[in-house]
């Protein structure tokens, strides 16, 4: 029998003390221990709302009679809809939905008032951007009540008989882009952005800190190099890695989840390259800020958390309060989600995605500039 050393409280206690001392020295980890619950509380407690209200709605008013106005004000006064603009042509309505500027377009047809008064149940067309079914579901459900309720105010006196009918109007809802409300259509393309955010930031996040930890940085700095050469040299190889992930997810989206691919795949690949580069730039900048690899991983996590929660991937973007939307607008994932969903589900072309793409480019440039400035050419 092998003789075992008996358990010693003193040795156990030595380890406990050592861990506390090391914890106190590692400020960033300590900050994370405090910071993560605070951030989570803020995000889940205040920012996230699965039942978005006051969704931007445009109205195409072909009948400028009293009842058309009534419907408009009914929408304005409702919880779920915010009237943002009046539009005048079908093409304009199409564009506003495709670019994601409005969630709904309500069309009041010509002769609406006349048909209503004749009791002919005129049609009201509501087109919804249903790429994210959870963002529009409750609003659509409330539509009938909102519109009928508004009309009922006007249908008084001799018109009261109209209000008494179950439905004075014929409400037609077109859930555009995802008519069956299949959530995979929304989630699987979005996942492409989430996966890229997580892996790309992490990969380059370790790039500089690893050189520093292994001592190879000293060697690299003693050679005649410029910061941009080092940073770009570390970014480019991983764009290819990112493309492998994109290919994997696109294949799965097509063959496993049968996600519609309405738009141009080359355009999506172009947008993906910009998005990948932005995340790699973010990672490499973390890498210049972090003292070691652990800190780089922690920073990645700190970036990933809001990206996941505030980008509109998990929860409807429009359900968040203003401050959270502002943060969300900064994150490249927010814009990439709009691009990828726009291209695949809405069939968006370059025109519609250009604005989103530009914002990702801007993010990448700002972040890379910080990285180049922070990259130290000396060991000081």
């Amino acid at each position: 029998m092998k003789k075992r050393t008996p358990l010693s409280f003193a040795r156990f206690w030595a380890i406990v003390i050592k861990e506390f001392v090391q914890m106190r020295r590692d400020r960033l980890t300590f900050g994370m221990i405090i910071g993560i619950p605070v951030v989570q509380l803020m995000l889940f407690g205040y920012a996230i709302n699965g039942d978005p209200k006051r969704l931007p709605t445009a109205v195409l008013l072909a009948d400028s009679s009293q009842f058309g106005r009534t419907l408009l004000s009914a929408l304005k006064n409702s919880e779920y809809f915010t009237f943002v603009r009046e539009i005048h042509t079908e093409a304009e309505a199409e564009g506003a939905l495709a670019r994601g500027e409005v969630q709904f377009v309500v069309t009041v047809p010509e002769n609406f008032s006349r048909d209503l008064l004749r009791g002919e149940k005129p049609a009201i067309l509501v087109e919804a951007d249903a790429t994210d079914p959870s963002a529009t579901g409750n609003a659509i459900a409330s539509l009938r009540t909102v519109l009928n309720g508004g009309l009922r105010h006007d249908l008084t006196g001799p018109l009261a008989y109209l209000a008494a009918t179950a439905d004075p109007i014929d409400l037609r809802v077109h859930a555009r882009y995802n008519p069956e409300g299949i959530s995979q259509y929304n989630i699987v393309p979005g996942l492409m952005g989430v996966v890229l955010t997580m892996t790309m930031v992490m990969i380059t996040g370790l790039a500089i800190t690893r050189e520093r930890e292994r001592g190879t940085m000293e060697n690299l700095l003693s050679m005649p190099t410029r910061p941009l050469e080092v940073l770009l040299g570390k970014i480019v190889p991983y764009i290819f890695v990112g493309y492998i992930q994109v290919g994997l997810i696109l294949t799965a989206a097509r063959f496993l989840f049968h996600v519609p691919m309405a738009g141009s795949i080359p355009l999506l690949l172009l947008a993906a390259s910009v998005f990948i580069a932005a995340n790699l730039a973010m990672g490499i900048t973390f890498s210049t800020l972090a003292k070691n690899q652990l800190q780089a991983v922690q920073m990645t996590f700190f970036f990933f958390l809001p990206s996941l929660l505030l980008s509109g991937f998990m929860f409807p973007f429009r359900g968040m309060p203003g401050w959270a939307q502002v943060i969300g607008e900064v994150l490249p994932l927010t814009h990439f989600l709009r691009i990828v969903r726009g291209i695949l589900l809405k069939g968006n072309g370059f025109q519609e995605v250009a604005l989103q793409l530009w914002q990702i480019v801007l993010f990448a440039l700002v972040v890379l500039t910080v990285g180049v400035k922070r990259y130290r050419k000396t060991l000081d």
Binding site: R214, G215, T216, M217, E218, N219, L221, S222, M223, P224, T225, K377, T378, L379, D380
Partner: protein
Amino acid sequence: MTDSFAIDVRGMTKRFGEHTVVNGIDLQVRRGEVYGFLGPNGSGKTTFIRMLCGLLAADAGEGTCLGFDVINESEAIKRQVGYMTQRFSFYEDLSIAENLDFVARMYGIPNRRDAVRESIERLGLAGRQKQLAGELSGGWKQRLALAACLIHQPKLLLLDEPTAGVDPKARRDFWEQIHDLAGQGLTFLITTHYMDEAERCDRLAYLSYGNLLTNGTAAEVIAGAGLTTWLVNGPDLQEIASRLRSTPGVQQAVAFGTRLHVSGTDADSLEQAIAPFRAEPCIWQQINPGLEDVFIHLMGRSKDNFSL
């Protein structure tokens, strides 16, 4: 004419916060010279070398390195200097050949493939070029590091403790190679803790607490210290040593294996001090002090002068 000097700097100073790590060092190293840089750990040797090759920004100082301004022209200096770091700093997950190829590309060497192949052959690494650097033993890592530092044909090599952790045979081979290269006109600045290596240098400098205490050839350094040394052989040397250390006139009593070196700067008072001990059954013999005696002396003296 600065041209005969590979390194010619004055007043090089580096501070980290309140702490002055290198304190106004002047150094001149001639072209083709093997210059030894000695001093205890933390004396500022590495910091000084890093300032020379632009890895650290000097807080003060001026001069030239290979004819380029040491403060403003570090990019040009980097192109002509090979720097071998104290810790192995090539990529452990690249093979020998891949590491060399990387370095060759970084310096934009023409005929890169040939340069890499020649470098591998010259260093006798031919059979192992596909081996990962991380799998190499200390001696082979050191050979690889030297090969990589030489690939861009630098004029000056800065070697920071190149032989730390390397076995005696490999150390001897390494120094032979250094003298070969110096014969071809390369200049070396080498830090070391080994006395035998110090003796192989053309000239030496000794640093302590960021100050340059002495420099010159080994003989000059020894003579400059003005030390008188007695060699003691016999029983109970430990006990004699501890008694000697508290005797005025004796500045140091250091055990060298089974013998004792007793030294002092004033020959007469040293002789008086040791007189009572000579009655004991030991053999006393006056010798020429060696470099190690001098360095231990310098270290002890500098503590009095500079430490707080």
